[in-house]
């Protein structure tokens, strides 16, 4: 009893102390939350003010009279763009911040510009020496800064530091690596894809999509060396190369592409079949139907998808035979191919199937016809 009362007394004392401490903490955090929100708001307002100022400066520099003399005159009032020296009273941190805001505004403005306007923007970026700021970030140890630096340099089409960027295309840090790969392609188009020869890390689906999208907006020039990338030990490089071959209609690589049907990796097989949508010869149909029997369901599905545009009447017996498949999705896709081949698919050819399958096939056909 004595022990329990002792514990209880001690506990009560502790609880009192804790409660007082907690009450203080609660008050502190309430006030901190409130004043932080005010401070953050004030800071945001200030940043917005400077951004607006930078935006109007950019408009003046680019659109009013963008001769060098006139620009020098305008810039004379901005210490952050003058060399550090006597008479310049501007802290390094503030200078850095103001210059960063200028870069941010340039990147924002670039999205709304085209043609000569973009060229003027590049020149201004160069003239203001902002590339040095970006390069400093690129050489930083913090990956976030590296990503920022790489993006700025590539967006501003500044090629001088391309070697440093290129080195980053196989960087261990995923974000740096991805940004560098995008940057190299942005700077050099399909020629930039040469990083595929050295990249050892997996190129994610997201990254492949980003690169393809970037290439979509560039002039249609075939990349060189796809056949070498086909030999890569990096599976993701093979898959991406197949996508490139499909995108650029590389008929000369048809044989190599067809060989990937033997590849142990299903995604490679799928991509290889997918290429045959655009790149095929008179043997492709036969090849696909021959492989159909030995591949997994996802590959079968893509083969049927490709056969919709590739199949000729010679595949009809094969397709009818495959209608016996137990998988409904496969049957539906087979019927799609058949529907493409013949206007009216003859159900009597499927008489060997069980009644239930016939019923579902009739329904499927009505579905396909209404598509």
């Amino acid at each position: 009893m004595f022990l329990l009362s002792l514990i209880e007394n001690d506990l009560q004392t502790e609880l009192i102390i804790f409660t007082v401490l907690f009450s203080c903490a609660v008050c502190t955090i309430f006030f901190t939350s409130y004043f932080s929100s005010l401070l953050v708001q004030r800071r945001e307002d200030e940043i917005q003010r400077v951004r607006d100022e930078k935006e109007s400066l950019l408009v003046r520099l680019l659109f009013e009279d963008n001769s060098d003399e006139s620009n020098d005159e305008i810039l004379a009032g901005y210490n952050e763009f003058r060399p550090i020296g006597k008479g310049i009273r501007l802290g390094t941190k503030k200078r850095k911040l103001l210059r960063q805001m200028m870069i941010d505004e340039m990147l924002k403005m670039k999205k709304n510009l085209s043609g000569a306007g973009v060229e003027d923007l590049y020149k201004l970026y160069n003239k203001l020496g902002l590339h040095e700021d970006s390069y400093k970030k690129l050489t930083s140890k913090k990956y976030q800064l590296m990503v920022m630096g790489i993006r700025e340099l590539s967006e501003m089409n500044f090629k001088t530091y391309y070697r440093s960027i290129y080195r980053c295309t196989n960087h261990a840090q995923e974000d740096v690596r991805m940004e560098a790969q995008v940057a190299i392609v942005r700077l050099f188009g399909v020629k930039g894809l040469k990083f595929l020869s050295r990249v050892t890390y997996t190129i994610s689906e997201w990254q492949q999509m980003t690169l393809l999208h970037l290439l979509n907006n560039m002039k249609n020039e075939k990349p060189k060396g796809i056949e070498n990338w086909f030999k890569s030990e990096n599976i993701s490089v093979i898959i991406f190369s197949l996508r490139l071959a499909e995108k650029y209609n590389c008929f000369e690589l048809l044989k190599e592409m067809q060989e990937f049907l033997h590849h142990p990796n299903d995604i490679v097989k799928i991509q290889s079949v997918s290429c045959m949508r655009n790149i095929y010869d008179e043997n492709s149909e036969l090849l696909l139907t021959a492989y159909y029997r030995i591949v997994t369901k996802p590959v079968k599905m893509i083969i049927l998808d490709v056969l919709q545009s590739l199949a000729t009447e010679q595949s009809i017996p094969f397709l009818y035979q495959q209608l016996a498949d137990d998988d409904t999705e496969i049957r539906l896709n087979i019927l799609r191919v058949l529907h493409n081949l013949c206007d009216d698919v003859d159900i009597t050819n499927t008489m060997t199937l069980e009644l239930e399958k016939e019923d579902s096939i009739t329904l499927m056909l009505s579905h396909i016809k209404s598509e």
């Binding site: 409660t19 309430f30 409130y34 993006r151 999509m209 980003t210 979509n216």
Partner: protein
């Protein structure tokens, strides 16, 4: 010492120890979440979604939106879903046997006609009465399915059967999505290279009082209604100081039913949504995870901490009570169904951390709290109560709640900062102060009611959620 006294001490200090462990768990998870949120913002802050939003190479997504008796808002809600900026998607609206004229309104508004449609019934559902497609090319992405009423899970299963894309997004039809929400949700599926991402979930925010225009949130306001405001704090706390940590530990057991994306193949392989539970969102995630664990397949469930989806929360205690009762039953049903995971080393983080956490701190917490109140009354009546001790214990717990909630608001201020007006933070802090006395008691009561319903095997369905709707919000900023 008498047994009564022993019982008294066991109970008193038991609650104290339980509270300390619970609060410590909250602190640990909260701190971990904050770090992970900051990491997430740093990592994904660079992504320029606008660059790929218009791309034709984005992966295909099916959006599944079940609707039941939503005649008042259905046309506007579907229009809002059309405003999502994503190139490659199909929108499947499932009319779950509505008793009102929801279907007719959709037919009229979107020029729908019934088409012959083969439904591959990989998951058995209530019969589909018809599938409708638009004759207007502008709505070619829209598929409306009319089916016999079977509940939300059954409607989603029909959607899973009909969906033709690789990824499915299940959303509440009245949710408002951010423009790049789908891209953000699909990104982890495509970015992860060493394992298969089976599901992703995003942050749900409270849309009450927000300004909506053309199906988009144009201005965020703190809800005017105090109940909705308290739920705003609750949502911030839960999403900001909880889920990110579980995601990082790969121990996330729930993807919100209001907005989640799934790998369709895995969802179908495990049998789709369970129609026998009211917690079908949590149950599906747990079952998908178990499937991957049992088959020793590397996988992940990811969570995106950016605010992606806005939804209206209940503003009446009656509806809130029903919602929380349902949530509790859903949790208990899922935990009971998958009890084999409990401290099962085979399931790693899932069995040793996630499940026990949900069992002890989500399922047991309201029971222990409620029992505490009962004993408090009994001991007070018997004159056995140490008033000073209990007062301090209560104060300690309430203070911790305040601290934790205010901390979540502080983190929100420094991270996503959705509430930007000068008076927003004080309004939220006021809600924090009132939460234990208004909201919390209702939530505990509803949880106990839910558990009792389960014990007594009372069955109730989904209940109905009265909503203001987008149209109303647009005109009145409700």
């Amino acid at each position: 010492m008498t047994w009564e006294l022993w019982f008294f001490y066991f109970f008193t200090y038991g609650i104290l120890i339980y509270s300390v462990i619970l609060l410590s768990a909250y602190i640990l998870i909260g701190i971990y979440s904050v770090f992970e949120n900051i990491q997430h913002m740093r990592k994904h802050g660079f992504t320029d979604y606008s660059m790929v939003a218009s791309s034709t190479v984005v992966p295909a997504i099916s959006i599944l939106a079940p609707a039941y008796n939503e005649s008042a808002t259905i046309v506007e809600n579907v229009r809002s879903l059309f405003s999502i900026y994503y190139n490659n998607l199909e929108l499947i609206v499932i009319n779950d046997g509505s008793k009102d004229d929801s279907l007719q309104k959709l037919i009229d508004a979107y020029s729908l006609i019934k088409v012959p449609y083969f439904v591959n019934e990989r998951v058995v559902t209530k019969p589909v009465r018809g599938v409708y497609k638009s004759t207007n090319a502008a709505y070619k992405k829209l598929v409306v399915v009319d089916k016999v009423n079977g509940g939300k899970a059954d409607a989603l299963n029909v959607g899973l059967n009909i969906a033709s894309k690789k990824y499915v997004t299940c959303i509440d039809v009245d949710c408002i999505l951010e423009q790049d929400a789908l891209l953000r949700m699909v990104k982890p599926f495509m970015l992860t290279t060493d394992k298969r991402v089976i599901a992703t979930g995003g942050v749900i925010r409270v849309a009450n009082s927000c300004e909506v225009e053309g199906g988009k949130i144009t201005k965020v306001h703190v809800p005017k209604d105090m109940l909705a405001r308290i739920q705003t704090v609750e949502y911030i706390r839960a999403f900001l100081l909880g889920r990110m940590a579980w995601s990082k530990l790969n121990g996330l057991l729930i993807i919100s039913g209001a907005f989640g994306m799934f790998d369709r193949e895995i969802a179908l392989t495990v049998g789709g949504y369970d129609t026998k539970t009211v917690g079908e969102d949590m149950e599906l995630v747990v079952r998908m995870r178990l499937y991957m664990e049992d088959n020793k397949l590397p996988y992940a469930v990811r969570y995106i901490s950016d605010p992606l989806c806005w939804t209206e929360v209940p503003i009446s205690y009656k509806i809130l009570w029903r919602q929380r009762d349902r949530w509790t039953r859903g949790t208990v049903e899922t935990l009971w169904k998958h009890k084999k995971m409990f401290f099962n080393r085979k399931y790693r983080v899932l069995g040793l951390l996630s499940y026990p956490y949900w069992f002890f701190f989500e399922f047991l917490a309201p029971i222990i709290e409620f029992t505490g109140w009962i004993f408090f009354i009994v001991y007070a009546a018997l004159g056995m109560l140490e008033w000073r001790f209990y007062f301090l214990l209560l104060l300690f717990i309430i203070c911790f709640g305040y601290l934790f909630s205010a901390f979540s608001i502080l983190i929100e201020t420094f991270t996503f900062r959705q509430y930007k007006e000068k008076r927003d933070v004080p309004k939220l802090l006021l809600a924090v102060l009132l939460e234990p006395f208004i909201f919390h008691l209702c939530v505990v009561g509803a949880a106990i009611r839910g558990i009792l319903k389960m014990v007594l095997k009372e069955t109730t369905g989904w209940g109905e959620m009265t909503r203001g709707g987008f149209a109303k919000k647009e005109s009145t900023k409700s």
